[in-house]
Amino acid sequence: MTTYAILTEDLRKTFGGTVAVDGVDLAVPAGTVYGVLGPNGAGKTTTMRMLATLVRPTSGRARVFGHDVAAEADAVRARISLTGQYASVDGELTGAQNLTLMGRLLGHRHRAAVRRARELLTVFGLEEAADRQVKRYSGGMRRRLDIAAGIVVTPALVFLDEPTTGLDPRSRGQVWDAVRALTDGGTTVLLTTQYLEEADRLADRLAVIDRGRVIATGTPAELKQSVGAGALRVRVQDADRRDEAERILADVLAQPVHHDDDPAALSARLVDPDRAGAALRAFTHAGIEVSALSVGQPSLDEVFLALTGHHARPDTAEEPLS
């Protein structure tokens, strides 16, 4: 029988008149990485805050390792650690002091807490910055310290709220390594993200959330299959010829073509990657100069479009194309 780290039934949260979470059902098997994907304001953070006992559900139920988040908050707290979207460390303190504080709050004596802090600082490559105030850390260092603070005592379940938003690729890779190491040790990870690539690399299963509801669940492969193998993005040299290019692209790919905010850009679902070459040839034939053409995974916006029929909100960060 599967043990579930998280089980929610029809979880709802209303703030005043605003519905933030509108009936979420999640089943997160223990020992897995579960990704919650969605744009800003979709209800990801509120869902996580309910599961971490910080916010009480308006209705519905949520259990963490069988313990109700509202009725047995302490039992839940003894099994989780939370790394929020905004650094959950004290900027005035040094890295070492932050980790020592966490150790003491979790029950270590001062000396043991200091020892554990030094160990983790070394592991996360922060030993040289150990005695520097955290407000002088770079974003990546801060985030690593944040994650270290979450594992001073190895938790059964780790919540990571958008752990790599705003990080450079190298720091992002380090965070990903840490997440994999956590699951190797048996810890369950629930992470929210706006990046499909991140969800794809890390998560065993995904839930896509939009406007407070789960609109799709499955493995990353299943999710991508439902959207299409990939996306073709084209930027024409002359924005005036975009309409012409759009007709050609629609013809070659046999797919609806979308306009981007950029007046010279187009994108379309790419079922067969070989058709990208055909599209480029067709542009050349028509004399349309193309300044950029790329094939990539569907962006979060495209996943949304496919799943919901509407665009993710405009402030949503797009997955960087490689």
Binding site: R104, L106, I151, V153, G185
Partner: protein, 279 residues
């Protein structure tokens, strides 16, 4: 579910994996241990931002010197005589005014992600507030030491000696600590640190000036005299003067202790309720 620890004797190629494997959870800490940890945090923050100590060092010094020489001649005939009665008053005044910064600091910090982390820990939650309040006692004691030290240099000689000094200062610190709970409540209610500061001024100015700190209430108009008489700060000043100069003030000390108990009994639960509130 339980985490299966990897035997630490097995060589691990990956330091992160071995660090995770050695992160066994110690026994749940008691309320006292957690409170001390939060107090340690607050002291570290003072250490990193020593400018926080300005209001408990420079400010009392200015108040003491300024009022002693400004009013001393006019109100008591000489600065030496005035110092005898005004020093305990200045002590009460400066420490009382300092207490509101507790609320301002809490209001500033509460929005930080770090408080989310504290609130999701399996700990005795009031510690996150009581710990910093204990560290505040260090700030209040610094303020008291500055006033008494400077006063001694200016010629303040209490009749009851060092013990009376300690008893008087101790009572002031107890009052300040109890009053801090009022500020933690307001600090959690206020939307912005600026509004908390405004509320603080609005309360502490009349509370300290409409009292017997500077003048004999008998010289005031009747209605104002009655305001002064019911002001708890007046009782605190009378009690502190009495303790320092060896005069009988048991009744005033009793009133002060009751006021302290009342403030904690009402505002500590209010603070905790507001702390647990969702934000």
């Amino acid at each position: 579910m339980s985490i299966v620890p990897v035997p630490t004797t097995a060589p691990s190629a990956d330091p992160l994996r071995s660090a995770l494997a050695s992160g066994a959870r110690p026994a749940r800490p008691g309320a006292a241990a957690v409170t001390l940890a939060f107090g340690w945090l607050a002291l570290l923050r003072i250490k990193h931002v020593p400018s926080q100590l300005f209001d408990v060092t420079v400010f009392p010094l200015i108040m003491l010197v300024m009022f002693t020489y400004l009013f001393g001649g006019a109100l008591a005939g000489s600065t030496g005589d005035y110092l005898r009665s005004v020093l305990p008053g200045i002590l009460v005044m400066t420490v009382t005014m300092t207490t509101q910064s507790t609320g301002v600091a809490l209001n500033t910090d509460i929005g930080d992600g770090v408080f989310d982390r504290f609130r999701s820990l399996p700990i005795w939650q009031p510690a996150a507030l009581i710990g910093p309040l204990l560290a505040d006692l260090v700030r209040y004691a610094t303020s008291a030491a500055v006033v008494v030290g400077a006063g001694t240099l200016l010629g303040f000689r209490p009749n009851a000696g060092p013990l009376g000094l300690l008893a008087g200062a101790g009572l002031v610190l107890l009052f300040a600590w109890s009053l801090s709970w009022v500020w933690t409540s307001f600090g959690l209610l206020a939307r912005r640190p600026e509004s908390m500061m405004f509320i603080g001024m609005l309360v502490t100015f009349p509370l300290t000036f409409v009292s017997n700190v500077f003048v004999d209430p008998a010289t005031l108009p009747g209605w104002l005299e009655r305001c002064v008489e019911v002001n708890p700060v007046t009782h605190l000043v009378t009690a502190t003067r009495g303790l320092m100069h060896g005069e009988p003030v048991a009744a005033q000390v009793g009133i002060v202790l009751l006021t302290c108990a009342g403030m904690v009994a009402v505002f500590a639960p209010v603070t905790m309720r507001l702390y647990r509130r969702e934000r």
